[in-house]
């Protein structure tokens, strides 16, 4: 067991390393002019610019830069952001913004799982019935139409209809509801459609036929055999989803003006805020990989057939 954990740890470290190096190098491919705002670029002369770039640490060759970065991380110093609240430590920024994303993300996740799984079960139980049809229509709309569109329209119509605030206010709980629900909509569709698919697959298996022949009522078979077994493949995604709520939803946080982590990454890239981008990518990669690992552990705990030592590599 221990050797398995160590092996996975090693593999994960390599993956994280490759991810961070790739992003690191891609960032260094950006034009140096991007480090300045337009005015600064125009107003500063050559030597001032070079001095500034040197102070940022981007004039050295990539290897040196990377070593510096890695060393810093090892010591707990994740660098200072170039763009956000000038020169704030990255950690401070994350600590400030993460709670918003986490709260909304986790609340939406609970909603997604609760409603989504329930929907999935009902759709599978009454396959091809009315509920199944409506469920499928819902899922189709959510997954086929770009989310920006229906998120935007929901914001417009619902706030107009119910007189709710259009954006997020920390002191007005009523403004928290719509973003949470909107955030959950995709998750609900995902859980519903996948659980339904897995349940339908399970229903066709031989052991269900045998259970029927033994005289077990269909409702009981669905509940105690089909549902239980169908949830198993879904469980492996659960840790990942929980851990990555910290990343926040760019769309939701943008249209509801939530000061979370969502827009951070994109803006950081546009402003070529290397320390921030690197730190965030490192954070998300680590969380993602830890999530996968926990997911595999969870699967092994739930499925007696899986023996960890010979576990499959890569995610399904």
């Amino acid at each position: 067991m221990l050797s398995y954990i160590l092996k996975r740890l090693g593999q994960s470290l390599i993956t994280v390393a490759i991810v961070i190096i790739t992003v690191f190098l891609l960032l260094r491919l950006m034009p140096k002019s991007g480090y300045f705002t337009r005015e600064d670029y125009v107003n500063m002369d050559e030597s001032a610019r070079t001095a500034y770039l040197r102070s940022l640490g981007v004039m050295d060759d990539p290897v040196t830069q990377f070593v510096r970065f890695a060393g810093g991380v090892a010591r707990g110093n994740w660098g200072r952001s170039i763009s956000v609240y000038p020169k704030s430590p990255v950690m401070t920024i994350i600590k400030e913004k993460a709670p918003y994303s986490l709260w909304f993300g986790l609340a939406a996740l609970v909603l997604s799982m609760g409603l989504g799984l329930t929907m999935g079960v009902l759709m599978a139980r009454h396959k091809d019935g009315v509920f199944d049809t409506f469920g499928t229509i819902y899922v189709t709309i959510v997954r086929a139409i770009p989310s920006l569109i229906w998120l935007f329209l929901i914001q417009q119509w619902v706030t107009g209809l119910l007189g709710w605030p259009m954006v997020f206010y920390e002191d007005r709980p009523v403004s928290w509801i719509l973003p949470t629900i909107s955030l959950a909509l995709t998750g609900i569709a995902w859980y519903a459609i996948w659980l339904r698919r897995f349940m339908v697959d399970e229903e066709n298996k031989d052991y269900v036929k045998f259970a029927t022949a033994k005289g077990i009522p269909r409702t009981r078979i669905m509940r105690k055999h089909v549902l239980r077994n169908a949830l198993v493949p879904l469980i492996q995604y659960f840790p990942q989803q929980v851990l990555l709520t910290i990343a926040g939803s760019l769309l939701i946080e943008s249209i509801y003006s939530i000061p979370g982590m969502g827009g951070l990454l994109v803006n950081a890239i546009r402003q070529q805020d290397n320390p921030l981008v690197q730190a965030l990518v490192l954070l998300y990669a680590v969380l993602g990989i830890v999530g996968v690992f926990l997911g595999d552990l969870l699967m092994a705990a739930v499925d007696p057939r899986i023996k960890l030592a010979g576990a499959q590599g890569g995610q399904e």
Binding site: V23, T140, P146, V266, V277, V281, A285, G314
Partner: protein
């Protein structure tokens, strides 16, 4: 239980001549994979209707720019031509904030977005299939490919898209490269799984034992699976790429603002929604029609190509 004897004439009680070839007539229904697939798919009127819709919309999107004289980029200098509601004056979909005809813009935009989607589907599926087939067949590269898969999966999609868009200047091919560079691996993995399960499937081992030539094994046993994956993935890539284009437009890294695409139309219409809702709703209706149709048709085709559903 029937014990009554039917009326038969006595002289029939003679031995009958034995015809060995007659004994061999099996006549179990001939099963053709493709015929069954299309039959199952076309069984539903919804599938047929949406397939027809796809054809109509695609045809129109490509035919309109050729046949119509309206210029989607023509800005009206006369401000009274700005923001006119749909109707006899404004044109079928109305005009936008610069007096441009939204009906024309919608169809030019659809053409661009569809083209984008087809190109992405082509590269994604093309590269994905070849890579996946090799990955599944050649055991030695499995470790590297799996590692590659893990890495690509763990680089946040947004980062990659944004970085590439930044390095390469926003544009048609930038989006293609950005989406394809991460998209192909999922298809490759899917294909790899299928290839692996097929390669080791007993009926293929049996075929090899019977000295069935490799091209025939591939043609009859492997290709049908892969082609159906192809079609399904291609169909599902269209809504995905349109969605990505809309998202990129939102964060300012989509196609150039001057370009006419559904993504740009949506983002522009969003900004003027409060005052002129029709500028968003009509392009959205067309966009939704396309994405929903492709999505449903793609999924139904996937279901139809599963032999277990060929009943």
């Amino acid at each position: 239980m029937k014990r009554e004897i039917p009326m038969v004439s006595d002289e029939l009680f003679r031995p009958a001549p034995f015809n060995e070839s007659e004994a061999e007539l099996t006549g179990y229904a001939r099963y053709s994979y493709w015929r069954s697939t299309f039959r199952t798919f076309l069984k539903s009127p919804v599938s047929i209707a949406l397939l027809a819709l796809i054809f109509v919309l695609t045809l129109f999107a490509f035919a309109y720019p050729v046949l119509s004289k309206t210029d989607p980029n023509a800005v009206a200098l006369d401000t009274s031509r700005w923001n006119i509601k749909p109707g006899s004056e404004g044109g079928i979909f109305g005009t936008d904030g610069l007096g441009r005809d939204i009906w024309a813009r919608t169809w030019y935009g659809t053409r661009t977005s569809l083209l984008l989607g087809f190109v992405i589907a082509l590269f994604d599926v093309g590269i994905g299939m070849i890579a996946g087939a090799l990955w599944g067949y050649v055991k030695r590269i499995d470790r590297i490919m799996t590692e590659l898969y893990n890495v690509l999966n763990n680089i946040p999609q947004t980062v990659f898209l944004v970085l590439l868009a930044y390095i390469m200047r926003p544009g048609f091919w930038t989006i293609v490269v950005a989406l394809c560079s991460t998209g192909w691996i999922s298809i490759a993995r899917f294909v790899r799984n299928k290839v692996m399960s097929i390669r080791d499937a007993e009926y293929n081992i049996a075929s090899r034992c019977l000295a069935t030539p490799l091209p025939r094994i591939i043609q009859k046993n492997v290709l049908p699976y892969l082609v159906s994956i192809l079609i399904m993935e291609a169909a599902l890539t269209i809504p995905y790429s349109i969605g990505a284009e809309v998202f990129l437009g939102f964060i300012g890294l989509g196609l150039p603002v001057e370009a006419v695409s559904l993504g740009n139309l949506v983002n522009q219409g969003k900004n003027t929604f409060m005052l002129y809702p029709y500028q968003l709703t009509w392009p959205t209706v067309v966009l939704a029609a396309i994405t929903i149709s492709f999505y449903i048709v793609g999924n139904r085709f996937a279901d139809a190509s599963d032999p277990r559903n060929h009943v």
